[in-house]
Amino acid sequence: MRPRLHTVVLLCAAVLAAGCLGATLYSGVEERGAALAFGVLVAVGELTRRSGTRIREAAPLAAAGSLAYALLGEAAGRPTHHGAAQVVTVVLAASLLGSVPHVVRGAGPALDPSARRVLTVGFVAVCFQPLYSQGAFDGWSGSAHALLLLALLSLTALCDAVLAAALAHSRTGWPFLPALRDELRALPGIGAAVIATGAVMALGVAVVGLWALPVFSVPLLLAQLSYRRYEAVRATYRQTIASLARATEIAGYTPAGHAHRVAALGQAVGRDLGLTEPELTVLEYAALMHDIGQLSLVDPVPAGATAVLPAAEQRRIALLGGAVVRQTGVDPRVAAIVERQADPHREQPLAARIVRVVNAYEEKSREGGPGGPLTALEELRLGTAGEYAPEVVEALARVLSRNTEGTREHGGRAWREPRTGLSDPARGWVTHG
């Protein structure tokens, strides 16, 4: 079996780390004060990492601190002498030390982020430290030096985004380009704050010495705090929608867990078709609420199976649902998708096509018994003339086959959350978990 990309990346990082460690052990640690201060900063930053959040940069302070150490050329006006090897060693040691509590608490060490950290810091340090100590940047003084650091960090961030997308692609098999687009989209937010803080910290230490570290980390900590609160309220909102969308199940209109399963499978199909993160959120909400129109019916549809109803009836229920969703003040795009889920696929937006296909698959495969999934997929393929969009059905087939592989590989780990971050290593999930 040919080596997967993430294995190669992990190996590279391990080799780099081992080499740097050896070189540092051989030559000893220069400027212990600075090394200790940056080590403490990175370790503290690592301690504030909160796993399980969907923030792309889970430990911004540690990232900014390690980048700043890699770009450090002076401290309080005196030139420094630590080489690239020492930078990688200090950052690695501090990161490992800072993640000890997380490991003790049972959250395993995040391999991919650590490998990415080692590789990016190594890249920056190798680009900067040797050239700087040889005096290659002497012509770049003053503002030009600041701009140089900024350019180097931006380049690194781009490379890191490519690396992250490639790792996600290799781990999960999701298409590479949408993953890369999502990574790049996240750059102007917390990514930019990390880059700016890294550059400013390096410059600040050069001007005022190690005092700059605690002072200059305050704005980034503030940004981290704001992001967490934003993420927390988003998670709450999602919980609320998911819970209230279950009104149809409680009222007996649809079988238990149906909306949840359609949302999960729809997300997977949407990701396969290259939807962006915001579009995926809209799709998720629409899928959760797609049956809510049935609340307005006088008599429940048998087993909630709308896919077997006459087209006119389906569209009537869809319009009712759209009206309910519009009332709840959720993003109007969600209501539009719910409203149009029963239209012929040529007139539908992509998200509505996905909801329709996935909903039909869920209903048909549930009725079909053991062989249900295969029969359901076959029926959907036959229906691609008018009802079901062929490209969505094909994406669904891809997702389902990948899912069977995925569950085998990841030991049948059941799907837990509606959506996990791209940097989450394992995203196997099962339809009937």
Binding site: S143, A196, Y230, G329
Partner: protein, 465 residues
């Protein structure tokens, strides 16, 4: 809004005149500052930067809920770098051209600029007097931190004093309790502003240090990026939270309509629950959760057929049983929403009675969760005081009397007494529409007057719980 009181106008004019004196010191007065004139180089770019940041904070993609104050770091950096009149000039040039949304335009514009000019001038003056310029120039960080701290303290003091003045003047009379409570309110305003302003002061100090360093203004600009990102995330947080609350409200309105209740029943039950919780002296988090408990108590009716809910005439035992399932339906729906906490128990048990004759479980006495006992009283009270399809509204005293009669058998006497006390003190003025008036932690909302810039200081990320 109504016209501004004349004394408030006089106050604004006084502030403006004082600010003018700070900007252009007349010869002989305040001449202690070095008479070298204003250095144009840092003033112009800083003023442009300040104005740019303020515009950005008000622009569509950022749209912070309280835009004023987003760029205090720039102002404070100016106060640490420039002579006092120069720093005041930065505030003037940045704040004066900003658009004003509400009438009276001229007075608001003058007020917004005047208070900033005065505060920045005072901060810069203090910074100069305690020797902060030398600390910044020598990169002596402990010294720079100390002097910047003093300057930020003065900045905060001047801003809150000016705000307190305008609040007292536009509120008409001094708040209840006279002088002492006005002082207490000011002290609270000061404490709430201090933490965010300290963070802004730190950022301003970093900008000043880097501006003076060989790396120059480019490096100083980079300091603003993390601040800007945190502002953006904070604005997103507010937008998302507002959307969340709107969704919950809309859903319970759907329940009210489906049930044939008057519009806003759930909202009013939430309000009454909140009043009871406050009266019981619960902490703010629990008060908020109990408000949600009241709002969501009947959400399970979404699962009950509309035909039964709106049926005219007596219900068969079978139909009654179906309707009585709604607390369990509701609990089933909200049990996955973790922020609701004990409100979930209230949804399940709000039809239990103290003597054990209620449903769904027939719990009695202290077996019923406290939150459910609160919501039960609030629910019954609003049911009696609002007009239904089957009964006229009763006057509030009659409803309270009825509650007192049933206390002990149906309702917890403690909750009934709390409701009676709360209504006796502040009356019952239910909100007619489901507007988004979310009281602050202390329930204090500044009167909507020319205090527009006072909001932001108190609503910075650090200022909240």
């Amino acid at each position: 809004m109504e016209a501004l009181p004349a004394r408030a106008r006089v106050y604004v004019v006084c502030v403006t005149l004082t600010a003018l004196v700070c900007l252009v010191p007349p010869p002989g007065l305040l001449s202690s500052s070095p008479a070298t004139g204003v250095p144009w180089w840092p003033v112009v770019p800083l003023a442009a930067l300040y104005a740019g940041c303020e515009r950005l904070a008000r622009s569509r993609p950022v749209a912070t809920p309280h835009p004023g104050g987003a760029s205090y770091p720039v102002l404070l950096a100016g106060a640490f770098l420039l002579p006092p009149s120069g720093a005041a000039l930065v505030a003037l040039a940045g704040a004066l051209p900003l658009p004003v949304e509400q009438r009276p335009y001229l007075v608001r514009r003058l007020w917004r600029t005047g208070r900033l000019v005065l505060a920045v001038w005072a901060a810069s003056r203090v910074h100069l007097a305690v020797g902060g310029r030398e600390a910044v120039a020598d990169c002596d960080v402990p010294g720079a931190l100390g002097t910047a701290g003093a300057a930020v303290l003065v900045f905060c003091l001047v801003l809150t004093l000016l705000d307190g003045g305008i609040l007292a003047l536009t509120a008409g009379v001094l708040p209840r309790g006279g002088r002492t409570s006005a002082t207490a309110a000011w002290w609270q305003l000061f404490l709430r502003s201090l933490v965010p302003l300290t963070v802004h002061g730190l950022a301003g100090l970093m900008m000043a240090l880097l501006w003076r360093s060989p790396y120059g203004p480019v490096a100083a600009l980079l300091v603003l990026l993390p601040m800007g990102v945190s502002w953006w995330a904070f604005a997103q947080y507010h937008r998302e939270r507002a959307a969340h609350q709107a969704t919950i409200r809309a859903l319970v309105q759907a329940v009210d309509i489906k049930d044939g209740y008057t519009r806003g029943h759930s909202e009013r039950v939430g309000q009454a629950s909140m009043m009871i919780a406050r009266e019981l002296g619960l902490d703010d988090d629990r008060v908020e959760v109990l408000r949600f408990a009241g709002i969501l108590h009947d959400v399970g009716k979404l699962g009950v057929p509309t035909r039964l809910l709106t049926k005219n005439g007596p219900l068969t035992p079978e139909e009654r049983r179906v309707i009585e399932l709604h607390p369990e339906y509701g609990h089933e729906m909200v049990r996955g929403i973790s922020f609701l906490g004990e409100a979930r128990a209230a949804v399940l048990h709000h039809h239990e009675r103290l003597d054990g004759s209620g449903y769904p479980y027939g719990l009695a006495g202290s077996q019923i969760p406290e939150s459910a006992r609160v919501v039960a009283v609030a629910d019954a009270f609003d049911a009696m005081t609002s007009t239904r399809s089957y009964s006229r509204a009763r006057p509030v005293p009659a409803a309270l009397e009825e509650l007192r009669r049933c206390a002990g058998a149906h309702f917890d006497p403690r909750m009934v007494a709390a409701l009676v006390r709360a209504i006796g003190r502040s009356g019952w003025r239910p909100a007619v529409t489901a507007d988004d008036v979310r009281p602050d932690a202390d329930g204090h909302r500044p009167p909507a007057a020319v205090t527009e810039p006072a909001g932001p200081v108190t609503d910075r990320p650090g200022a909240r719980r």
